[in-house]
Symmetry: C2
Subunit: 359 residues, 2 copies
């Protein structure tokens, strides 16, 4: 029996260690350690020999043990709800892919009620995550304080809140409302409605504010507000309520593309309306589905990739300098013009991928 086979045999009864790999590969234990540390220096041929030896005996570097030593787990907790909304599926995908570039991964917490969420997030903290990203989801003050005590930075994506110590990345919510109102007013609509998200959604409130204030400034003070709760089902219900009255709106702005899809479905299939000739519908987000010709939705874009990118920059700044103040960051969007709303005569510009409205 060769020396290697002997080493192989002795370690079969317990989990293999770095030292076992070193024996099988015929290298030092520190070489094995370096081979499994991202960025550490070790010759390519040595690394291959070590990886081969590790595989042959079933050795796995224990990142948990390393996390305990370094207090860095390279795990980022993501608390998210509304995964059925394609915008949040995009956020998950973007965050996962962008974090993977630096060897980090998402520990996922899907949440519904606020209570569940705080419990889930307490669990996240106990995994020694490096940071907490919250999307379509809200933190209690208590939880926030707990994270600050534990030195774990929190970044919210897509909420305009100003809780102490919480960094946030959001889109141009108020401008979205203003620009959509200007677009609809320039294309001569008469009766306006806004399908809001949930009542406590800050981004929905800001979109509504921009929409209402612009319309009010041009003399349209009678805008109907209904709550679609960000779900397809509730948006369909409130769309029916809006459309079944005699003096129905000819322009509906929705706080998300996903709700706009429900409004278009109800208007065309149940009320036989032509979009946009009888009814203009505009959303927010620019999810991939909004470009599908079944909806062909005019929408104010909220680029998930850019929001995630800014969130990661903030996380890295907060980790590098834990004493840093919370950072708030707005990512610009565009009013992307497609076929679901009547168009003004002027103001169009072609950017790289889309026709946008810039009056």
């Amino acid at each position: 029996m060769s020396k290697k086979e002997g080493a192989n045999k002795n370690i079969k009864s317990r989990a293999p260690t770095e030292s076992d790999v070193a024996k099988v590969a015929g290298v030092s234990q520190s070489a094995v350690s370096r081979a499994f540390t991202p960025g550490a220096s070790v010759a390519q041929s040595t690394r291959e020999k070590i990886l081969h030896a590790a595989r042959s005996i079933g050795y796995q570097p224990n990142l948990l043990a390393r996390s305990l030593a370094t207090r860095r787990s390279n795990i980022i907790a993501l608390a998210i709800s509304n995964l059925e909304n394609p915008f949040y599926a995009q956020v998950v995908k973007e965050l996962s892919e962008q974090l993977a570039e630096t060897g980090r991964h998402i520990l996922l917490f899907t949440t519904n009620a606020e209570e569940d969420e705080n419990q889930a997030l307490e669990q996240a903290l106990s995994y020694q995550v490096d940071a907490l990203v919250m999307a379509a989801s809200k933190a209690s003050i208590e939880l926030t304080m707990q994270c600050q005590k534990a030195g774990v930075p929190i970044v919210q994506i897509n909420r305009e809140t100003r809780l102490p110590g919480i960094s946030t990345v959001w889109g141009e919510n108020q401008r979205a409302g203003e620009l959509v109102a200007a677009f609809l007013h320039a294309s001569k609509h008469e009766e306006y409605a806004f399908v809001a998200g949930t009542k406590d959604s800050t981004i929905s409130q800001m979109r509504q504010k921009g929409f209402i204030e612009y319309l009010s400034s041009v003399g349209k003070k009678d805008v109907k507000i209904v709550y679609g709760d960000y779900t397809f089902e509730t948006a369909a219900i409130v769309a029916r309520q809006l459309l079944e009255v005699e003096k129905r709106p000819d322009a509906i702005f929705c706080a998300s593309d996903y709700m706009a899809f429900a409004v278009i479905d109800v208007a065309t299939r149940e009320f036989g309306l032509d979009v946009p000739n009888d009814l203009s519908v505009i959303g927010v987000d620019n999810v991939p589905e909004s470009a599908h010709s079944a909806y062909d939705l005019t929408t104010f874009s909220q680029p998930a990739g850019s929001l995630v990118q800014e969130a990661i920059i903030i996380i890295d700044k907060m980790i590098a300098d834990p004493g840093r103040r919370a950072i708030r960051c707005e990512v610009a969007g565009d009013l992307i013009v497609r076929g679901s709303a009547k168009r003004p005569k002027t103001g169009f510009v072609n950017n790289v991928t889309n026709k946008i409205w810039l009056p």
Copy 2:
């Protein structure tokens, strides 16, 4: 200064421990330990006192340290691609919610190319995950062997492969193809086409097999096969190729709902066809969007919640008995009848939520 305040003050300079919490709460350290162990016995009033003390000093139980001791992390790695397909967004949501019921969470790996994936999964193993779930994603033989050596069970969702040691959960793929063919043949179609997924997708192959074999048995041997690669964009391209020839199909079966949406978009918007009068389109999955009236898609269901439920049962069996053989499990679906395909005269049954076809 009270005793509690003194305890509070002394521990400010380092991370608080169980013993610090015990001092502040005025209980034993073992009570603190029990309070943070799911299912362990401790009086509710004591637990509350301990949780309050823990929060006041910023203590977090260290699940990583506990994982090292117990060799159970309560983390399940999920490797997934195609998150833009709502079926896989559903799988993520279901897996996350169902695992949360037993205090477990997903460590997410979104993958594209095969190479990336193996690298990502090696990293997953080093986090001492309890199991690996793979959805829309494939493992190499090498990786499989590595997981087996490390004692980490792998479960594939939605792949009909028979790799040694890998458990799998899939839908009724061949029956889906057969039943869709029977439905389309009974409603008197003439020219058939199949929009497959990727060339190496086993589930697409099984759906194709069922579809082609049934049609062949009734004398329809000339079925066009094109590859939509499971993406919206490629499905739209191959739909154009199918529809621009003179003798175009009047029945198209797609290996996923998501590709069927692309086919409907192209057929109605670009070719001015009426669905279903000029063209019947049927998908597989029954994603929530297929019920939206913009698509109103007839589809063979593949219930994400049930697939995930079976996957978790398998994981638990494999963890309880590591010597256990791989388990393969098929979850039944139904042909759900909506408006995107011409219907046969008979064979309809109403189940709880849908009209289904059971000839």
